[in-house]
């Protein structure tokens, strides 16, 4: 048998195996290190701070958990959120994340490491990303082999699609959920392969952890039944499937119902009915198989088949009836918006208003996955070629996740692991083919099919390892046996190859190319991570003309102003995006926050923001609002400000008060959204417009004032305020805080009170007519 390059011959198989195993451990350790390190850009560039919006709530909840213990956390009623409705926090959150941090915190303190709870929260996501890489390795290993697993782990460790949700400080549910997702799937595949109730239980336990950690658990709830259903339909029903599924479903469902927020949903909502239905179907099939094995009569078999089908139909009919009667909750709006991308905008604007719920743009696939997205189909094709049970799982996962990732930006996150896995499988197959030192026997063209990859090498990404691993696979087939095989090719097809690569030049070309692609991938990931995904969004950064970094810290500046200068029970109204940050950083009650559970309350805020002062004032008084906080980016060009979100406020308010708020009123007659002289009257009167541009033109000292976000000229004569007054404006005007005035002591409306205070004369009035004239 010819080899393309010489191999060391004096290595014992045990040495090779041990070396490969050591190298794998080292590689995994290095991958974990890389995964953690690349997520620390955020800490290095800025500081150890909680990012974005939701993490601020998680952080605050974790503090409560760490300080007061689990039972107080469970019963925590937060009177400062959703003022005055309050929020039953214990029953409306997925506590997995906080519980994880709480356990780590208690453990570290138990071994006398007094780590601050904030640092645990900040570092949790990078820590779990290392575990995710390991889980991906385990999962991929089940599909192909260790070398593919290592590649997948490396991809998973640094792929931007996952880093975007797990940088240090991004203390969100997704931080631990992806690890749980991958590990549950790994346990499921393992259970299915071995027919193991133990691994089924492991899958169920991690499923429970996942349910406790992330609302996206419904993905697992539907993926595993879908996989099982496809297996059944393909006639691949086995007792292994029965054992794996039954143990997973029974234990997983029962334990998931222990999470207060989930409660009875697994047996009462449509989202969970698929899993229940497949469970029932499996019981019926298992029963019929049992009967079949005992009674082989052909007639009886048809009877059983008929009864099985009728029972199945009856079960389906029962579920449908229950759904129609309302015992089972119908599909939620969030579910419909998955299939009809225009649905949310029409019926639930509050969901559509979230930027991460928008459909994904094409460039973001490349941005988040780079060359993996090109290898992804190749990997799926490889799965089709193998098509064992676990490969089917990967195919289904790939199809489903691709669709969802196209519908919503945030679901790119669920696509990322499977892309890493399939891309790793494809790349590993490519490397296997090109690194394999055996050359095909030119004369032996008799061989039919290419050998399956049973003899695939245990290659690892590092070149050295690959060589060693190749040697490991080559070593047993020493030249003598090769010769024997070459003489009798029909006898053992395995050893000699009819297809393969001749010579070193093609190998080097392809491998060099692949290596370069991998290197560029690393460079791309590093660049994307450092430039796009490591910004805490609480702190903004810009570059000075000399290239140095300039930190824009308006948010914290304003939140600390609130904390230091306002009464502790002063209610702050803002758009819901900033609710968690105000609660977390300013520690003040808020009207609405990012837990958008009450549409009417949000619409109330939307109405107050989009109405004139006179209309808004009674709303503000009724809700005891003391301060209004808005985000205004017009001065420095911060585009995510409230004027750009304003139309969503109008739309959401319109959904509740269609008679009072109408979206078209906020556009110019030409249908433009403008803030300059041509702005519509409703726009100019709205509280949001007034608060944003109050005294804005004064800043330009007689020059033409320009809004840098919308690139429009701001009217020279700015709006005036009667019912509220400016309390604080941050350095770059990003955050503006207004105080709501008290009612006038003389019972006048504040507009005329202001006019009086400015010395304007009131129109003379006459006594009202008290009787009719007699004609």
């Amino acid at each position: 048998m010819p080899v393309a390059y010489p191999l060391p011959k004096d290595l014992s198989p045990a040495t090779v195996a041990n070396t490969a195993s050591l190298l794998r451990i080292v590689a995994l350790a290095l991958i974990s290190g890389a995964a953690i390190a690349s997520r620390l850009f955020a800490v290095v560039n800025f500081e150890s701070i909680i990012h974005e919006f939701d993490p601020w709530f998680n952080y605050r909840a974790t503090k409560v958990l760490a300080e007061k213990g689990f039972y107080e956390f469970w019963n925590w009623f937060d009177p400062t959120a959703w003022y005055p409705l309050g929020r039953v926090v214990g029953g409306t959150i997925y506590p997995g994340l906080m519980a994880t941090s709480g356990v780590i915190y208690s453990f570290l303190h138990a071994i006398n490491l007094p780590v601050d709870i904030r640092n645990i929260c900040v570092m949790l996501a990078p820590g779990f990303s290392a575990l995710t890489a390991w889980a991906t390795y385990m999962f991929t290993k089940e599909l192909k082999d260790e070398s593919a697993g290592l590649l997948a782990a490396a991809f998973m460790g640094i792929v931007p699609g996952y880093i975007s949700r797990s940088v240090a400080g991004s203390y969100d549910n997704e931080a631990i959920a992806i690890f749980l997702l991958m590990f549950t799937f790994y346990a499921w595949i393992k259970a299915l392969k071995q027919g193991s109730a133990f691994f089924g239980t492991v899958a169920a336990v991690f499923y429970f952890y996942m349910v406790a950690a992330w609302g996206g658990y419904a993905f697992i709830t539907n993926m595993i039944p879908l996989h099982s259903l496809v297996l059944i339909l393909m006639g691949r029903y086995t007792n292994r499937l029965y054992v794996a599924y039954s143990s997973w479903y029974a234990i997983g469902t029962l334990s998931s119902m222990q999470v207060p927020f989930v409660g009875f949903q697994p047996v009462s909502t449509s989202e969970h009915m698929g899993a229940l239905g497949v469970f029932g179907l499996l019981q019926i099939i298992a029963f019929s198989q049992l009967i079949h094995s005992h009674l082989p009569s052909k007639q009886f078999k048809t009877v059983v088949l008929g009864s099985v089908i009728s029972i199945g139909l009856l079960g389906t009919a029962a579920i449908v009836t229950l759904t129609v009667r309302g015992s089972i909750a119908p599909w939620t709006g969030r579910f419909y918006s998955m299939w009809d991308t225009g649905y949310a905008k029409k019926y639930i604007p509050i969901i559509a208003s979230v930027s991460e719920h928008q459909p994904t743009a094409w460039p973001s696939f490349f941005m988040d996955l780079q060359f993996l997205i090109f290898l992804f189909p190749a990997g799926v094709v490889y799965c089709f070629k193998q098509l064992r049970d676990e490969h089917l799982f990967v195919i289904i996962y790939a199809v489903v996740a691709s669709y969802f990732a196209g519908v919503m930006v945030r679901l790119m996150l669920t696509l990322t692991p499977i892309v890493c896995v399939t891309a790793a499988v494809a790349l590993s197959e490519l490397l296997d083919t090109y690194i394999d030192p055996q050359e095909p026997d030119a004369s032996a063209e008799v061989a039919d099919v290419a050998a399956p990859s049973d003899n695939a090498s245990a290659a690892t990404p590092s070149k050295k390892v690959k060589k060693a691993a190749a040697a490991a696979s080559a070593a047993p087939s020493n030249p003598i046996s090769d010769l024997v095989n070459a003489n009798a090719p029909a006898k053992t097809k395995k050893a000699s190859k009819s297809r393969g690569i001749f010579g070193l030049d093609t190998r080097i070309a392809v491998i060099f190319n692949t290596t370069m692609m991998l290197l560029f991938f690393v460079a791309h990931c590093t660049w994307v991570t450092s430039s796009a995904y490591s910004s805490p969004s609480v702190v903004l950064a810009s570059t000075n003309p000399d290239g140095s970094q300039h930190i824009i810290d308006d948010f914290r500046e304003a939140y600390y102003w609130l904390r230091q200068n306002t009464a502790e029970d002063a209610v702050v109204m803002s758009w819901w995006d900033y609710g968690y940050q105000i609660a977390g950083m300013a520690d003040r009650p808020t009207l609405v926050d990012n837990n958008t559970w009450n549409n009417t309350h949000i619409a109330t805020v939307g109405k107050a923001m989009s109405s004139s002062e006179e209309v808004a004032y009674p709303i503000l008084r009724k809700h005891d609002v003391d301060y209004i906080l808005i985000i205004f980016g017009g001065l420095i060009g911060y585009s995510g400000d409230d004027i750009n979100k304003f139309l969503w406020m109008v739309r959401i308010a319109q959904g509740v008060w269609p008679d009072e708020i109408q979206e078209p009123n906020y556009f110019t007659p030409q249908g433009d959204y403008r803030i300059d002289d041509q702005a519509s009257q409703a726009m100019k009167d709205s509280l949001m417009y007034k608060m944003s541009y109050y005294r804005f033109s004064d800043l330009f000292g007689g020059q033409q004032a320009t809004d840098r976000v919308r690139n429009q000229a701001v009217p020279k004569v700015g709006p005036t305020l009667d019912y509220i007054e400016e309390a604080y404006t941050s350095e770059n005007w990003i955050v503006r805080i207004y105080a709501v005035k008290k009612e006038d002591p003389l019972g006048r409306d504040l507009k005329s009170a202001n006019a009086f205070a400015e010395g304007k004369k009131r129109k003379r009035t006459k006594p009202m007519t008290r009787r009719r004239a007699i004609i």
């Binding site: 009623f77 005055p84 309050g86 214990g90 006038d744 009086f756 009035t765 006594p767 007519t769």
Partner: protein, 444 residues
Amino acid sequence: MLALWSLLLPLAGLAGLVHAKSSSGDSVLVVLEPGLPKEDFSVFFSNLKEQGYDLTFRAPKEVTPKVIEDDIPAFAHVILFAPESKAYAADITPQSLVTLLSEKTNLLVAVGPKTTPLTSLASEFSLILPTPNTPLISHFPKRDTPATVIPIEVASNSLLTAGTPPVWFSGVSYALGNNPLLVPILAAPAESFASDSTEDSGADALVDASEKGGEGLWAGSATSVVTGFQTKDGSRVTWVGSVTLFSDEFAHKALPNGKASGNEQFAKDVAAWTFQEKSVLRIESVSHHHVNGTSTPDFYTTNDEIVYSVKVSKYDPKTSSWKPCTCRSDIQLEFTMLDPHVRTTLVADPSDPGSYTASFRAPDRHGVFKFVIDYKRKGWSSLQSSTTVPVVPPRHDGYPRFLSAAWPYYAGAISTSVGFVVFSALFLAGDVRDVKKGKGLKHE
């Protein structure tokens, strides 16, 4: 020295009888315009002094003493007897007077038929003054005084001493807007109207207005001549249509029927109300707790039985002290979250004077509730209190543990468990027997 004694002696003598002080302070600034010598008001002023007020006099254009300095009012009360002054020193403007009110200073303001800066201020209090130079005129009852000097019957009013004889009045009347903070004290007589008293040219306008159905007509008892106003901050203003109401001349002037006029008593009563001597209430303390508890909890659970009590006291000018007030029977409590969920009357507690208690069940709704007392009655100072308390859902172990309705589920769980144990036992036992059998067969 003699002057001091002459001042102190009557004070000491009267201390037990009429000595009274305001609940908000004793310093009074009297702004008297130059045309009105203070000797003309000696009865009124000496009555105030006797009651313990510390009067400081000043002309409108004098610069000192300032009524307000650095946004801090210098006096507890201000009397503005300047119905004809067109110009004031810089510290007295309509705006600064409103500022004074919001700083809890009380005002007693006299207006007249002439247009002054105060005319524009009056409209801020929903008082609608007639056109300039149209004083109140009445030709009834028959008397020997000019038509502008009118004896007005004093209707019974909780602010005034009962049985006050009619008072002499000469000035303007004004219509009242619909501001709920207004406290009418003395209405114009039904036969009176506002008109130009010197010439008859105004008569046509008057007839026109009355034919239009009364629009623009200041006439009849719907107009008022003395009106109180209590601001939301608790300070009080009284607008009097005539400065002469307080004068010695009217105080001593006999009524058409020969009896003494009520001006002196009326002026005292008006000053007493304006300067927060009368009808002044305040909330001493509020408390709330569970029906069976005494300490104030941080939160309540839904459906808890709550007891709320409030202590109200009333200012007693005779002893210058706050006395428990059992005088109100219509104070209400609201338990509010956006809207009142519970509204109930606070009942006076007979065992504890001044204490009012309400007991109710918290609504079956969690949220941040407020105990709200918002008590507003004409003439009385308003009582306002708002206490925030969260009402939370029951704790995880606060629900009933065993429900009779759940017995089917308990039975199901127990039977399944028992069945599992029995099945396992039988299965294991059966398995062992089979193996033994097989082994036995092999051996055979």
